[in-house]
């Protein structure tokens, strides 16, 4: 028989035991739920494919120094514009550099940019959106600013910012973050508002929970899943935009082996060196496809309607 302060008739012994039991049960339940989720995910072949592709690219990027047979920056004009060979799996470019190594190191650039932009714009968007959902005045101002930013198409805004800031990988990341924050903020805000409207939030307020507690303990966990899904898509679109910027000469500056740079140089010699277009192109497309499929898969997972 438990007294109201949680201690049993026998004294302090009962409370910790019951608490332990509860924790154990919670762990077991969490474990079960994770297993069900994993099973559901593996059944979706497309998202498994996506995960596999992304993992492969990440591994290639991480182990690039080990796998690549040449230095990506070493120029060797004697060997320029050679086709595929045993020494140069993807051929050489217009300066004699090994395209295979450049593509591998390029993966590092793309993944770094994509990941950083995804996480940062997600976090900043989350904070801005949450704040907007609590305060009417802030909401109006912040959302108008977001609308204005969104009216400028993302690639153009990125190009303009790069023109202002100068070509550098840091600036690419900053530009892309700015470009993506409005969408993230809007998402966070609208999801937060939806959660707030739920009756259980009302119930918690009646029970005396403080606003802060409700915000962090209830609103945030519930909006986290759609945010994570969106971050995956931002990752993908950041890779595309960075490649486009570099292709135009407004992104990561040469001689860095960004996929966009390789494509840019390849375009000038397209009649002779098709390998400079094909390989970075395929890598870009596959990475983006993998991320899109992964994002789709994770989103299907989170959708409570799918049982």
């Amino acid at each position: 028989m438990l007294n109201t302060n949680g201690t049993g008739a026998e004294g302090a012994m009962t409370y910790p035991a019951a608490q332990n039991d509860l924790n154990l049960q919670r762990k077991k339940l969490a474990h079960e739920q994770a297993e069900i989720r994993l099973k559901k995910f593996t059944r979706n072949r497309a998202s498994v494919f996506g995960l596999a592709v992304v993992t492969l690219v990440v591994l290639l990027a991480v182990f690039a120094p080990v796998i690549a047979m040449h230095d990506p920056l070493t120029m060797n004009t004697a060997d320029r514009l050679q086709g595929i060979s045993a020494q140069h799996w993807f051929g050489t470019d217009n300066m004699g550099r090994d395209v295979f190594s450049r593509v591998l190191y390029g993966a590092r650039i793309s993944l770094t940019v994509g990941f950083t932009v995804g996480i940062t714009s997600g976090l900043l968007g989350l904070i801005i959106g949450l704040y907007a959902s609590t305060n009417q005045v802030a909401d109006n101002i912040l959302m108008r600013i977001c609308d204005g930013l969104k009216a400028i198409p993302s690639t153009l805004l990125a190009i303009t910012m790069m023109a202002v800031l100068g070509a550098d990988i840091k600036n690419v990341i900053i530009s892309l973050i700015v470009v993506n924050i409005p969408n993230m903020a809007r998402l966070a805000r609208s999801q937060a508002l939806v959660v707030r409207e739920q009756t259980y939030i009302e119930a918690m307020r009646c029970l005396g929970s403080s606003r802060k507690r409700i915000l962090w303990a209830h609103v945030v966990p519930n909006i986290l899943s759609p945010m994570i899904v969106q971050m995956t898509f931002v990752f993908a679109s950041a890779i595309i935009t960075e490649a486009a910027l570099s292709f135009l000469g407004a992104g990561v500056p040469a001689p860095a082996p960004s996929w966009g740079n390789i494509l840019k140089e390849g375009k000038d010699v397209i009649y002779t060196a098709w390998w400079m277009i094909l390989f970075p192109g395929i890598f870009t497309a596959l990475t983006v496809l993998g991320l899109n499929l992964l994002g789709d898969g994770v989103r299907d997972l989170m959708d409570p309607r799918n049982s």
Partner: protein, 326 residues
């Protein structure tokens, strides 16, 4: 048709339009502020850029005063807005041309390209979406899904490069680059724009096909479709009349969004295929540090975006009576 005109001219519609136009003002304001601020952040003086390396400090200071660059920022903003409303967008770095005339001379190719791409995308996407919805679960549907996924993952310039490689370099059907004006013949004009238009339109075609299919499927599962069937409506009419009209809102949104995305994507595609449109102008201006031109283009496109949104909203009102009443 008569009904559409009745709707557009009616009182409810007029109130709707008025409200919509009003809500646009803050957005336009923010856009202008953002662009103004961005350009002000550029290091170095535009006056110095315009006068070149041989200018003296006095010359530069004089030009700056003339251009109003020594006034407080807020005042500069309003002067800028005022000038634009009078049609004065400043001077381009290139030669002695006004920004307005430079931009104007580059508009036509971009419009041609974007329209062409939009037509390609819509003509492919909507019928294919309808087909995929009708034949859900069959091989045709799966094939369509695969194609659309590929489309979403291939950015326009990448696809353009691949197209160029295959059709221009290897097969030699289309020109690798270059633009032929319409006045020199309709077919050469179209031919020079085909690869770029396909590159630009493919991604959006894929997106639109996916959306059309899912919207139609959702609508076809509705109770009112069942009721229509129960009262004897023919199968064809079920999809083409009942389902389609209910999907119009989504389809209109899609086309509107695609139009804007294409305008932006045109920048890269034009550079790739050497089409002398706004996109290429933009990219070249960055290299030349021709900031007033950049400013004008971005502003133009942003305003166009806003305009498209308004038109789309208006079309919603025509398509769905529930929207009008709200």
């Amino acid at each position: 048709m008569r009904q559409i005109l009745l709707v557009v001219g009616g009182k409810v519609m007029q109130k709707f339009i008025a409200r919509r136009l009003l809500s646009v003002i803050p957005v336009v304001f923010v856009v202008s502020v953002v662009i103004f601020t961005l350009l002000k952040m550029v290091p170095g003086s535009p006056a110095a850029a315009m006068l070149g390396d041989l200018a003296t400090a006095d010359d530069i200071a004089a030009l700056e005063a003339k251009m109003g660059l020594d006034r407080p920022l807020v005042e500069q903003y309003f002067i800028w807005i005022g000038n634009m409303l009078h049609g004065d967008f400043g001077m381009s770095v290139v030669g002695n041309e006004t920004v307005a005339s430079v931009v104007f001379s580059h508009v036509k190719p971009t419009i041609s390209l974007t329209l062409y791409a939009l037509v390609i995308a819509t003509v492919i996407a909507i019928p294919m979406g309808m087909l995929a919805a009708r034949k859900k679960g069959t091989g045709a549907d799966h094939a369509a899904t695969v194609v659309s996924l590929a489309g979403i993952s291939l950015p326009s310039f990448l696809f353009g490069l691949f197209l160029m490689l295959i059709f221009a370099v290897k097969l030699r059907i289309f020109p690798v680059s270059g633009y032929v004006e319409m006045s020199r013949g309709l077919w050469p004009h179209i031919r020079s724009l085909t690869l770029p238009a396909i590159a630009l339109g493919f991604m959006n075609a894929a997106l639109m096909m996916r959306m059309t299919r899912s919207t139609l499927l959702e609508v076809l599962g509705s109770d009112y479709i069942r009721m229509a069937k129960a009262k004897g409506v023919r199968n064809v009419a079920l999809v083409a009349k009942h389902a389609l009209k209910n999907s119009l809102v989504t389809i209109i949104t899609m086309i509107g969004q695609s139009a804007v995305q294409m305008l932006a994507g045109a920048a890269v595609v034009e550079s790739l295929f050497a089409i002398p449109g706004l996109g290429q102008l933009m990219v070249n201006s960055i290299g030349r540090r021709d900031y007033y031109v950049i400013q004008a283009i971005v502003l133009l496109i942003a305003l166009f975006n806003v305009l498209i949104n308004i038109v789309v909203d208006l079309l919603y009102g025509v398509a769905d009576p529930r929207v009008r009443a709200a």
